[in-house]
């Protein structure tokens, strides 16, 4: 099911773009990430998309593309600046990501990356981001590219005890910096599941490079799915898609990790569930894996069905055919009107029809930092605690 795009919005916001998704995914890896852009993408990224910017240094820059360089196709300026940056900063790798004007110019960023790599000896990537897709696309391609380039072959270990796991698709755009990532790690380790690595928050490079040792990969956002598929191809590691929201879902989720480890099959504990066929039901708007997990947790908590509206390109293999893949505030407002409850970022409340209940769940990848303090810890029992506060 393809995403159907509407292009005009009277009041709704827009999701973080693909180029920021690349930066966010690579932020803690010790690389140098350059947005090939005139200006604006950098301040947008570090103001609205990157909560780590003030306190955690990272080599994220813009190239400062000018009109003359764009018209004359002066790729050498970019290559020279990348070489200078690498020589001065000594990053582990260099990544350069496209934005709308380089897209229009048809610049070959992969070719420039190869050129710079030859000149410096530092591994380089060129990402075909356009600035016209969302962060899930950018983060997905960045995570997969790093793993494909750097993750070594690892000898298969014989498992003893609970399966070990990697967390895939973790960025502040979906998880913010309000404690959910730490809570997810704790939930897993307290239940006996060692966390080998987290792609990509809070793990050292060395931990990331040990990802092949994990028994199961946990895809906790749609940005982690391509990486999971790569690890499946390279290491044969099965994956589980979903976020363990609430105590009831956590039980199912952990059991599916065990199943995946035992059978080697991918598991989808948040897929399916009750899909409303007629009559009013809840509508959950957001990133696919988060929304599917929210639906399952909601269903387990209330016994009621819910439909998902995912305005992003990737479905995380979790959506049902009845779920909605649309953008555009008129269309979204019309779907809200068919619901009795909407769970979404507070910006969506601007187009909420009268008489429909609304549960606020701020999403960094949509409203940025505006309501960050309201973002709850949303795994395990903490989800139940949060849900109780909604009085539904």
């Amino acid at each position: 099911m393809q995403l159907r795009m509407k292009q005009s919005n009277r009041i709704l916001s827009t999701y973080t773009a693909d180029v920021s998704g690349v930066c966010s995914a690579l932020y803690e890896m010790g690389g140098m990430t350059v947005m090939h852009d005139a200006s604006g993408c950098n301040s947008t990224y570090n103001t609205h998309d990157e909560p780590r910017w003030y306190n955690m240094p990272s080599m994220v820059y813009i190239s400062g593309l000018t009109e003359t360089e764009a018209i004359l196709g002066d790729d050498e300026k970019l290559a020279r600046d990348l070489v200078d940056g690498i020589n001065g900063l000594h990053p582990r790798f260099c990544a350069v990501a496209g934005t709308p004007i380089p897209t229009m110019m048809g610049i070959d960023l992969s070719g420039i990356a190869r050129l710079v790599e030859r000149r410096t000896g530092t591994p380089c990537f060129g990402f075909k981001t356009t600035g016209m897709q969302s962060y899930v696309v950018g983060a997905s391609m960045a995570l997969e590219a790093v793993a494909r380039r750097f993750c070594p072959e690892t000898p298969k270990k014989v498992r003893s005890g609970k399966p070990s796991v990697n967390l895939l698709g973790v960025t502040p755009l979906d998880f913010s910096v309000t404690g959910t990532v730490e809570a997810l790690r704790s939930l897993l380790t307290e239940n006996g599941y060692p966390v080998c690595s987290c792609w990509a928050m809070g793990s050292s490079w060395e931990e990331l490079m040990q990802a092949g040792n994990a028994d199961v990969n946990l895809v906790v956002s749609s940005a982690g799915l391509t990486l999971a598929k790569f690890f499946r191809e390279k290491y044969g590691t099965p994956y589980v898609v979903g976020i363990p929201m609430g105590e009831a879902l956590t039980g199912e989720y952990l059991a599916e990790i065990d199943n995946a480890a035992e059978t080697g099959e991918n598991r989808y504990p948040v897929k399916g569930g009750k899909i409303p066929t007629n009559g009013k039901a809840a509508l959950i708007i957001g990133e696919a894996v988060w929304a599917a997990s929210m639906r399952r947790a909601y269903e387990l908590s209330t016994g009621k069905p819910a439909k998902i509206l995912c305005p992003l390109e990737l479905d995380g293999e979790t959506l049902a055919p009845e779920d909605l893949r649309i953008t555009g505030e008129r269309e979204i407002g019309a779907e809200m009107a068919k619901s009795d409850l909407v769970i979404a970022d507070p910006i969506y409340e601007y187009v909420l029809p009268k008489g429909i209940s609304f549960v606020r769940f701020p999403h960094e990848g949509y409203s940025g930092r505006i309501w960050r303090k309201e973002i709850p810890v949303f795994v395990g029992k903490d989800w139940d605690t949060w849900w109780e506060t909604t009085n539904f």
Partner: protein, 442 residues
Amino acid sequence: MIDLHQISEEDVSIPVSQASFPAPFRSGLEYAAPARGSWNIVHIGMLIPESHQIFVCAQSCLRGVVLTAAEMGASDRFSTIAIQDNNLLDGDMEQLILDGVDEIFSGMEKLPRALLLYTSCIHHFIGCDLEYVFKKLRQKYPQVDFTDCYMTPILRKSWMPPIAKMYMQLYSLLKPAQTDRRVAILGNNEVLAPSGEMVTFLKNAGYAVEEIAACKTYDEYQRHASACLVITTNPAAVPGGKELEKRLGIPHLHLPLCYDFAEMEQNFQKLCEALALPVPDLSEQKAAAEEALRRTADALNGMPVSIDYTATPRPLELAKLLTEYGFRVVSVYADSFSEPERAAFVWLREHCPELMLHPTVHAKMGMLSRNEADKTDGKLLAIGQKAAYFTGTGYFVNILDGGGFYGFDGIRLLAEEMENASKTEKDVPSLIQVKGWGCNCG
């Protein structure tokens, strides 16, 4: 994690004695400090009361502006039309804009008095026929005043950067009007301090003074058009002043914000000549400014001072003035300087050769320690958000673009602000990360 030890501080900062003018630093990859107080084109456009903005851009460009509006609580005055890659190939950009405006307007209970339609770098390159677009829009919605605005960062280093163009378009909606005894001061995001000698002089001479930051309604905004003289103090607003002079025939006078007493007096002389008024005696105001400077220098008692370019368009001239009055100015954060700063640069090279010039966008600036204030136990006074951020001090004067401090009285007020700021530490992260300081954000 990242190994910071490999990064050398060499080739980043430079003493003024060894610096070249106007660009002391080599350009390359650019870092963006998380000091967000400077206004962008959304904040500036919002100064027109009862107006609405529509941005036509790609998703990556929309993200920053749509959240600018949301953070300032103005989402209801802001709409978007997202460009997709097929629009670049299909040649349907004009229709995309027309259909998008129709759809956005159809969702409004009441149409705005004015619409600021922002196009982007892409339109610039593909040759979008904006003339056709605006003609069609004006035909269809005669009750709305339309103007063309531009989010074109690709022109940031050109002769007409986006902020200057924005200040030009900010007054493009003014309609010809009967001239009266009125002076309009253009291009300031906040009103000049009412105690200032220029504002009080104009009012005492019977002139109404218009500033867009004080306008509450669209009709008040239109009163700018009946001015007999327009003044710009912000250099970025000069093209806007010239354009208004050409279009509406209102004489324009650029009386720049400066820190040189002789230039201030010349500015006043020009103003009086333009209005055919006798030049007043400003010795009292000048003495008050000098007294405030001396008093503050004594109070700071050798506390180092650092200045950045976001606080004032003339950081070097301010450094010179403060040095002359006994302050210990140790550093200036700016990536380049404007031509009017040349004299101050030459003076500082001679009298203050050890003054350090630091870039703000150099790639290493994001990775080096921000600890200049530690050298003096945290006691360093920063003027401007970026100086506060990079030095790591908690003592700072939180102003942008001069802070509305203009003339002799402005120097007195700035000195008072400096003294106050030197006494109390501020919560720097929470203040400087607010986007568009003073525009009701945060």
